[in-house]
Symmetry: C2
Subunit: 229 residues, 2 copies
């Protein structure tokens, strides 16, 4: 069996949002699809450990924010590798409120879909939430961010709580000439060819030449914590 | 509410296969995702009217064949717009048998995933089948066919039984200068700019100049049945 066939499934990348007792939260998810066209229903698969899971269960409602291809890594890091139990992810993030009150992000989002929870399916480590579409808007025509683009171009990774989490050894099977520096927290691998545009690091900058106060673009772990493999 | 936000969800394109009482069948689906990573489970959403639905329910097993970007339209037409109740779709199609006996297609497929049915979720017009991955193989490194590529580049459509079926009026909101010829059976719109490579029709060929024996590349409806809008 070659598990890598599972990596050839195509996904987008979304921020799933919820509001519960006036607290707003959101998390990255790639497992979103339309279930039926009449009525219009959407499903999303969320890890039971996540705060967003708890909030959707309680509030019976969720939002799907469709990320654009130019969504910066620190935004994905904030919503994908931090917990809303520790920080308020919506602080400093531009959002509006959808029809039924779900906060939906406006920056780097093509549009949103708001759903009322219709059905919850227990699938072990995760729950598949199925919702009736109650509101939807398109903000812009930009290309949606795909999971393939996030991995191949942005060099992004998946947290251990993702349905599509991949073991590290399987992720990079080629190009081993250059030593790689990996974030021990989120698994992000610094790629000298890409650099880190948001931190002002141009391409072809070697890891050793990164400023000492440089931090992981995904989870903000310090440079000094990175391990060489 | 702007339903077009739902069109910005990213999907791949797959052929879902099954075997039941020695009869093999398959159908196109775009709604496939990984549900959990431990154990590895996959879900696919299938219309209750489809023969493949009946066969998965009975045989408790299904295959996911991951199409490559160069998959020809007549292959998508065969598996997406014909019923296995009327024709044997596997006649003349190259396939192998996965570990547990599911036929999986080798031409224009990147690889396959074979699943044992674990859970069926009734979602109205469709069922979401959730399966344990029991076999998987990668055949080639070609790019997977995405639903966006199928729509935008190949000018493909979705049948009424798809979870993501779109009403015709919503599908083409621009470029109305040239009269369009649409297939009354499957909704395919002939695009003179694209032509029909598989039928030897070069780009810039107007509909009127197509040979009289030309047929819809998706469902094989005759040219004479096309309507002008």
């Amino acid at each position: 069996m070659d598990d890598r066939a599972l990596y050839d499934i195509t996904y987008g990348l979304y921020i799933i949002t919820a509001i519960c007792d006036d607290y707003m939260n959101g998390q990255i998810a790639n497992t979103v699809f339309q279930v039926t066209s009449d009525p219009k229903t959407i499903t999303v698969c969320i890890n039971k450990q996540n705060l967003t899971h708890e909030m959707i269960e309680k509030s019976k409602r969720f939002g799907v924010c469709i990320l654009t291809q130019d969504a910066p890594m620190d935004m994905i890091g904030l919503f994908g590798f931090k917990s809303g139990r520790e920080i308020n992810k919506f602080e400093g993030v531009a959002y509006i409120t959808a029809q039924e009150g779900t906060p939906v992000i406006t920056d780097y989002c093509k549009g949103y879909i708001e759903c009322d929870l219709k059905q919850s399916v227990d699938v072990g480590t995760h729950t598949m939430f199925i919702g009736d579409v109650v509101d939807a808007q398109v903000f812009k025509k930009d290309k949606p961010l795909t999971y393939a683009y996030y991995h191949q171009v942005k060099k992004g990774t998946a947290p251990k709580t993702a349905p599509t989490y991949r073991q590290e050894s399987l992720m990079d099977s080629s190009e081993n000439e250059v030593p790689k520096y990996r974030c021990p927290i989120c698994g992000y691998v610094y790629d000298p060819e890409v650099g880190d545009e948001n931190a002002g690091v141009i391409s072809e900058t070697q890891f050793a030449d990164l400023p000492e106060d440089w931090t992981c673009p995904l989870c903000r772990a310090p440079k000094s914590s990175f391990t060489n493999e």
